[in-house]
Structure formats: structure tokens, C-alpha cells
């Protein structure tokens, strides 16, 4: 009986903050100084959300955004892991690339957006490339650190037991660097997600959640904007809970590299 009670109490606690915010929002929408067109009631927003979901517009936009996210991130992951491993393994690559990477890394990827528009035009190609460029540095730097953090004694031990280059790489270096690589991938994906929405606004892609927000601005359709932001928040929470935390649990924590 007490277990049931505590579940009820938990649900109440979880709902309370959202209910409180909703009440404040609703009061402000009805009594505040903004016209309802600019600050819609939550009922209007929910109505629009359902309408967009049923008509399929929201799904199409979500799908386009997710495809861009995955393409850009996969590109960044492949390039970033390869470059990072080369930097960690070969001294001359490291010396050559470290200054370049550390100079380009602090420039926000979004700042390249207009340059990419000039080079590649508008649309999908520059958006995906830009997301890839913006997110690959976190992968590069973490992979590099991970390969450098492999204990030299493990490498020497494997070599003295007659491991060839490929075995050494597959059986020693990769597993030892994997926690770092995963951290890099996680940071890279988060980075890609943070700028993708803005990239869509700047690149005038044909579909996408960011574009929906930007396009709705022209029509003062704040309800559409808030619906898109809600969808974005939903995807963000899913990414966080389902992808990042799971990745960490399955790999790093299981190997005892990190206590959960």
C-alpha cells in the first residue's frame, strides 16, 4: 500500500513543476500585455501540435531534421576517429595537426554558415557538411587524448608477445581508447544537435524543424513555433536518455572504467 502511495507522490512531484509553469503561462497569455497572436494560450498550442502531427507536417520535418543529424554526425564520427587515431599514433601527424585543430576548434561552427552558403549554395549539402565540421573536433580531440592515454607498457607487452600492427591496434589500442572515443562521440552528437536547428534556419532547407520555426516567424504563427520547439525538446530528451546514457551504461560502466 505504501509503495502505491509513493508512486502516486512521485507522479505528483513530477507533474507539479509542469502544472505550475502551465498555469503561469496561461495566466500570462490571457491577462498579459502580449496579443494572443504572439503569446498563444497552451490550448491553441496543443491544438496546433495535434493538427500538425495528424497532417504529417510535423513528422516530415522531424524526419528531415533527424536524417541531417545522422548524416552529419556519421561523417564527423568517421573522419574524427580516423584523424584522432592518426594523431595519437604518429608523432609527426600530431605535431602537424595540433596547432590547426586548436585554432579552428574555438570558432563556433555556425559562423561558417554564410561561407558555406557562398561555396555550396543553400539546402541539404551545406547543412550536413556544416554539422559535420562543427561536431568533428570534439571527436578528434577526445580520440587523440584516448590513444595517447593508452599505457605504453600495454603496447610493449603486446609487442613482446609478438603482436603485429593490426592486432596491436584491434586488441590493445582500440579497447583502451574506447571510453574516450565514446565521450568524444557523445560530445560531438550533442554539438551537432545544438547547431543543427540554427543551421536549418540559415540554409533555408526545404523541410526541417528549424526551418518550420523560422518560416512560421513570417506568419506570426507562434503556435507553430512553440509546437516545433516542443518537438525539438522531445527529441533532445530522447537523445539524452536513450542514446547517451545507454551508450555509457553498455560500454564504459560495464567495463568498470567509470562508476555509474
Amino acid at each position: 500500500m505504501s509503495g502505491l502511495k509513493s508512486i502516486g507522490a512521485n507522479a505528483l512531484w513530477l507533474a507539479a513543476p509542469f502544472v505550475a509553469v502551465a498555469v503561469v503561462w496561461e495566466l500570462w497569455a490571457r491577462l498579459g500585455s502580449f496579443p494572443p497572436k504572439l503569446f498563444p494560450s497552451l490550448i491553441t498550442v496543443a491544438d496546433t501540435f495535434v493538427r500538425l502531427a495528424i497532417s504529417g507536417v510535423l513528422w516530415a520535418a522531424t524526419e528531415a531534421t533527424l536524417v541531417r543529424l545522422v548524416l552529419g554526425f556519421v561523417l564527423a564520427a568517421v573522419v574524427g576517429v580516423i584523424v584522432g587515431i592518426l594523431m595519437g599514433r604518429y608523432q609527426w601527424v600530431e605535431d602537424l595537426l595540433v596547432p590547426i585543430v586548436s585554432m579552428i576548434y574555438p570558432i563556433p561552427g555556425l559562423a561558417y554558415a554564410p561561407l558555406f552558403v557562398l561555396w555550396f549554395g543553400l539546402g541539404d549539402l551545406p547543412s550536413v557538411l556544416l554539422v559535420a565540421v562543427a561536431s568533428c573536433f570534439a571527436v578528434i580531440i577526445n580520440t587523440w587524448k584516448g590513444v595517447r592515454a593508452v599505457k605504453p607498457i600495454w603496447i610493449r607487452a603486446a609487442e613482446s608477445m609478438g603482436a603485429r600492427d593490426r592486432q596491436l591496434f584491434r586488441l590493445v589500442i582500440l579497447p583502451a581508447a574506447l571510453p574516450y572515443i565514446l565521450t568524444g562521440l557523445r560530445l560531438g552528437l550533442a554539438q551537432a544537435w545544438r547547431i543543427l536547428v540554427a543551421v536549418e534556419m540559415l540554409m533555408s532547407v526545404s523541410r526541417g524543424l528549424g526551418w518550420m520555426i523560422f518560416g512560421a516567424q513570417e506568419f506570426l504563427a507562434t503556435d507553430v513555433m512553440l509546437s516545433s520547439i516542443a518537438a525539438i525538446g522531445f527529441i533532445g530528451v530522447l537523445l539524452e536518455k536513450q542514446v547517451f546514457e545507454r551508450l555509457e551504461r553498455y560500454t564504459v560502466v560495464r567495463w568498470g572504467m567509470l562508476t555509474a
Binding site: A111, Y112, L115, I235
Partner: protein, 262 residues
């Protein structure tokens, strides 16, 4: 990761940069893109020189920096007390944590068009985006910092007769400070991205993002690249000079480096 300075690494790094510049020069002169789209090094340097000589670039940079610093300062005013309360008071944690974890994964730039409708284009919208971007890493770090305080310290303090105020200022605050500094560092990184995006989208009159946006309209790729160089140099010097000095002065001196890992 700290790397000992060595002349060999220095020369190789210089060679790396020279190689990058050479590749760019060949690419620019190859005619793959027209000169207007990929200007050679000479005209980028010229654009950089001209915009510095007439004082416009430093002013744009100052405005952008001012927005970032103001936004971070305001976000600290919200985030540090909120994080502290969430760390110390159970009810506050239960109320605010769900809100924070829903709002945190929404990219700050998604709000720009809405902020523009509410507050118009210009300063207010841009600074609000910066605040949004900078607040969450700060709240999260302060909250983690306060929660990770060894309860033994608090019990020891109260056994020695510390009242609530004393135990806050002598125990909780110093113990959380390394996390505040880590939060500041993360906040700056997020805010730096947000301010450029905000300036691109919300088009205020001044700002480095504005320079880039305007240069696109007039196909001035050289000015655009000059602004990119300024953005990179500012970001790098904040990360390397300001924050490293801050950490050396505070966390490292107190011997708490291990505690402040993120």
C-alpha cells in the same frame, strides 16, 4: 592534456600552419571557386588590416564580447542561486530538476525567432539567447558541486558551532567554487556559439556575426574570413588565457584540480 614545450613540436606546428596556409593559397588561386568566394591570403590580410585601421572590427568585437559577458553575468545571477538551492533543498530539487532537464536539451538558437517576435530584433533577443545558452551548464555544475560536498564537513562545522550562514560561507561556497569555475568555462563555450548564431539570425546593428552576415550579402568573402579569424582568436584567448589563469589562481592553488573534473 599538458604537453611539455619543445622546439621540435614548435617547428612542426609552424610547418603545419604554413602547410594549411599554402593549401589555402593553392586552393584560392586554382579557380575552383571564383576569387570573390575563396580569396587568397593577401586579400584576407588586407581586409583584416583595413577593418582594424578604420576601427570597425574592434568595435564589432567589443560589442559581441560585451553581449557575451553581460549574458553570462546575468545567467550567473540566476543559475548560481538556483543550483545552490537545488543542491541544498530537496523540495527545490524535485521542483526544478524536471524543468531543467526538459529545457536543457532544447538548443538555445531554436528560441531566436520566437524571441524576435516577442522582443524585436537587436540586443535584447541576442542577450536572451546568450542567457539561455549559458544558464543550464552553470545550474548543472553548481548543483553537482553542492551535492558532492562531503557531509562530514558540514557535520564537523555544525559540531564546532557554525550557524547556517557560517556553514554556507565557510563550507558550502568554497567547496562548490571549483564547479562554479568549470560551469563558467562551459557556459562561455555555449554562449560564444549562441552569440554568433544570435547575431546572424536576430541581426542587431553591431557584432561579429553581423559582419559575417553582411559580408555574405555583398560577396565579401575576405571580410567574412577576417571576422572568422577574429572570432577564433577571441575564443582561443578566452579559453587559453582567461580561464587557465582563473583556474591556476583558484582551483589549482587550493589543490582541488581532481575535484573539478567535469
Amino acid at each position: 592534456m599538458k604537453i611539455a614545450f619543445s622546439w621540435r613540436a614548435f617547428w612542426r606546428g609552424a610547418a603545419g600552419l604554413a602547410f594549411l596556409l599554402l593549401v589555402w593559397e593553392v586552393f584560392a588561386r586554382s579557380g575552383f571557386f571564383s576569387r570573390a568566394l575563396s580569396p587568397p591570403l593577401g586579400s584576407i590580410a588586407n581586409a583584416l588590416w583595413q577593418t582594424f585601421a578604420d576601427g570597425s572590427m574592434p568595435q564589432h568585437a567589443l560589442v559581441t564580447l560585451g553581449r557575451v559577458l553581460l549574458g553570462i553575468a546575468l545567467s550567473c545571477l540566476i543559475a548560481i542561486p538556483l543550483g545552490m538551492l537545488m543542491g541544498r533543498v530537496r523540495a527545490m530539487e524535485r521542483f526544478f530538476l524536471p524543468l531543467v532537464s526538459v529545457l536543457m536539451p532544447i538548443p538555445s538558437l531554436a528560441w531566436v525567432p520566437l524571441f524576435i517576435l516577442w522582443f524585436g530584433i537587436g540586443n535584447i533577443s541576442t542577450i536572451l539567447v546568450v542567457i539561455y545558452a549559458a544558464t543550464f551548464p552553470m545550474v548543472y555544475n553548481v548543483w553537482t558541486g553542492v551535492r558532492s560536498i562531503n557531509p562530514l564537513w558540514l557535520r564537523a562545522a555544525s559540531a564546532m558551532g557554525a550557524n547556517r550562514r557560517a556553514s554556507f560561507w565557510k563550507v558550502v561556497w568554497p567547496a562548490a567554487l571549483p564547479f562554479v569555475i568549470t560551469g563558467l568555462r562551459l557556459s562561455f563555450g555555449r554562449a560564444w556559439i549562441a552569440v554568433v548564431g544570435g547575431e546572424l539570425l536576430a541581426s542587431p546593428v553591431w557584432g561579429l556575426g553581423k559582419v559575417i552576415f553582411e559580408a555574405k550579402e555583398f560577396l565579401n568573402a575576405d571580410v567574412m574570413l577576417a571576422a572568422l579569424i577574429v572570432i577564433g582568436a577571441l575564443g582561443l584567448s578566452f579559453e587559453r588565457v582567461v580561464f587557465q589563469a582563473l583556474e591556476a589562481r583558484t582551483i589549482a592553488r587550493w589543490g582541488m584540480v581532481a575535484a573539478a573534473k567535469r
